[in-house]
Amino acid sequence: MTITDPRTKSMNGTGNSVAPKRTLFSWAAPANFYVLAGKLIPWFAYAAVILTAIGMYMGFVVAPTDFQQGEVYRIIYIHVPAAWLAMVTYLAMAFWCAVFLIWKTRVSAIMAQALAPTGALFAFVALWTGALWGRPTWGAYWVWDARLTSTLILLFLYLGFIALRSSIDDERKADKAAALLAIVGSINVPIIYFSVKWWNSLHQGASVSPTMAPKMAQTMLTAMMIMTFAVWCYTIAASLYRARTLLLEREGGKSWLKKIGV
């Protein structure tokens, strides 16, 4: 994929201006990434706010009461998006760590570092809302079930990643150590997803699957998907914002920051 940037036109031997080809790797340059992230953040932030408002309206006003669980099922509109986000964010973090280890691009390491706190937050929210949903429906806040336990391990992996990164002073060594932990820990994500199939679990099976018809009312599903897109947009905005701050902290004083007017 190539993208041409009119701001970076250069002269060839004939005196005509030539727009150099910009590849995906061009965005790994801190200056390019910093500018691009700054442009993307407002779009994702506004989308998150608008989608949350629509999702909440649909979830609490339009969607009907569940015939079995009553009103308490409405926790689904944050529980499921938070659980999905916690898993997908971890995979994204492991992906950026792999990119960092292969190509040594420091922006990749920064992206992984920027994703971790938001992923941990959603893992915690998934566990918290799951406990508050479990009490009225299962009769217990917590059981040592495969799905719940593996999600708790996911939270610990996030916290371990953050703790390991901050415990090593040398940035390069910290990035490498944390990247290895993230990649090895990613094996936990398929375990979480398939735990309800592989083991006898108190947790219900997948309500939404690419291969099956949804097991819930259309309005409930629509509200849940809108909330999922909302938390997606929030996660992207928050991670990009944090990545820009991390770039400032790590690259403070470098010439490219002055060139772009920071």
Partner: protein, 42 residues
């Protein structure tokens, strides 16, 4: 069946609080990083 209203409130309240804490932390950390660059430049 009871509405279990308090469980719903506790779920959404903690979710909202977590988002508020994260956004506040993001903004404060960015200000801190920008201030550190300003001090370096001076």
């Amino acid at each position: 069946m009871s509405t279990h209203f308090h469980f719903i409130v506790a779920s959404y309240a903690v979710f909202a609080l977590a988002i508020v804490i994260e956004v506040t932390t993001l903004i404060l950390n960015r200000r801190k990083a920008l201030n550190a660059i300003d001090v370096d430049n001076e």
